[in-house]
Amino acid sequence: MNEPLREASAADAPPDAILDADVQALAGSRPEVLRFLEDYGIRLGPQAGVSLRRRLAELPEELFEDIGIDRRRLEANLGFFLAARVSDARGAADGARAQVRSITVVGGRDKSGNAEDVRLELPVGSVTGIVGPTGSGKSRLLADIEWMAQGDTPTGRVVLVNGEPPDLRSRFSPGRKLVAQLSQNMNFVMDASAGEFVRMHAESRRSAATSRDTAGGASERLVADVIAKANLLAGEAFAADAPLTSLSGGQSRALMIADTAFLSASPIVLIDEIENAGIDRKQALDLLVRREKIVLMATHDPILALMADQRLVICGGGIQAVLRTSEAEKKALVELERIDRQLQSLRERLRRGESIGDAPSQASRA
């Protein structure tokens, strides 16, 4: 099913149009080519009338020894890189997001070998809860989706995209991963400001797509949008120049959600245990739904579970039931949200140093 592993060969070299162009022209028309070489430590100054092929051929052998790659392999890598960009960009042009309209999970078998009698279709804009004890098989379900299982995983499940078997070559393409993840355990490890962080993500997405489809200005607007949305979710405001390390738990989670909603190419967002994250959960889900994500949510929180359109009950490695959120449950949700608001206001008042008496309105500091 997978292509055999093989080393790069001359056949993988970039197209002649690139190799025969001069560096000055490439700097204007295909800046990604020069950036790619710079990442390998090769800086080619502009020199009109000399082809890239010749410039590379003129580089001294010691340089290649130092950077640890030979000319043939470097050219092949450049060829691969450009080809992968084309296929990713094609995906983006068809609208990577619009392109995935639904994911279908066709049941396989549970850990005891019993048939899993499920055909689960998850359209964009849907929110699905996943409930079940630890070790019940939630992670395997997500891994099956991520791997685009075709009956070749322990569960025997088959995953379809838009009702059809997906192109398995994109299993290893970082730009075409199906699942983006958000969990309580995730942290920022970069030393950067919130704005720089979003810009870096936007730029890597931009360079993954074609060179001229996103102007610099558009990306600045995007950064501002993401920060503004994150602020809406977090409740407590932070600025674009705030260091990531200074953000509170709630602000961090809000930034991650807004960033994923706007900038991740993955059509599916998996949210894992974010009940105590200190963010507006309803608004967060609304944002993801409006951005046409397929939302999957592993949770033990009754409010989050009932906010979903449906929930999967996972047990013994299999999907045991798919429950639609009933009218009675939606009513219960209204009541739960009322209790939750009450709890939150109590928490807020205690935090402000107030005492809690019988009548909240009369509570005041002595």
Binding site: L5, Y40, R73, P174, N185, F197, D259, T260, S264
Partner: protein
Amino acid sequence: MKLVTFSGPPSSGKTSVLAKLIQELARTGESAGVIKFDCLYANEAALFERMGVPVRVGLAGGLCPDHFFVSNIQEGVDWGLGLRLGYLFTESAGLCNRCSPHVRDVAAVCVIDNLMGMDTPRKIGPMLRMADIVIITKYDIVSQAEREVFAFRVAEANPKARLLLVNGISGQGVFELARLVGDAPETATVEESRLRFSMPAALCSYCLGETKIGGEYQVGNLKKIGFS
């Protein structure tokens, strides 16, 4: 026997991933052995022994670990063949980022972790750039954006490689990794095989034990920054 070279910066999770991978292979009835190459200290043998996995450790001491690896690999292959192993994994830490442990026609894996900093994929040489499979570990504790940018930069450094996220603690991803190494070519010998790229060179007075600093003590293969 399928020979697979596992390499990666220190503490990137090579041993954890390998242990989980070997368990997964054992589940499907495949036998595996490990040769662990390190410099001063390696306690991984105990882990593999507890698992019942044949393991040998080689410590390079004062030698370049890469050169130590290549001068021992054929004997290692013979050892694995003697045990009739289905898989033989060599595990070596890339210590200078210019390491080049991969051999032509032998499956090559590089393990790097998502906590190393966003520029790391650009800083690692042949170990990453010449690998067939690149495994990213510790991805589950960083944000989605950092995960995506890091993966994108790995793909820039080695567009040809299969990129796989593997959790060395939970084992998430090893099933898929086992499928990939299953495609590795068979190795009967590495005699006359070639490295995918030359190893870092070192042949100067300091290689031979010189400890004094100064122009007149520097003899051999030298290189100057050129400050003037």
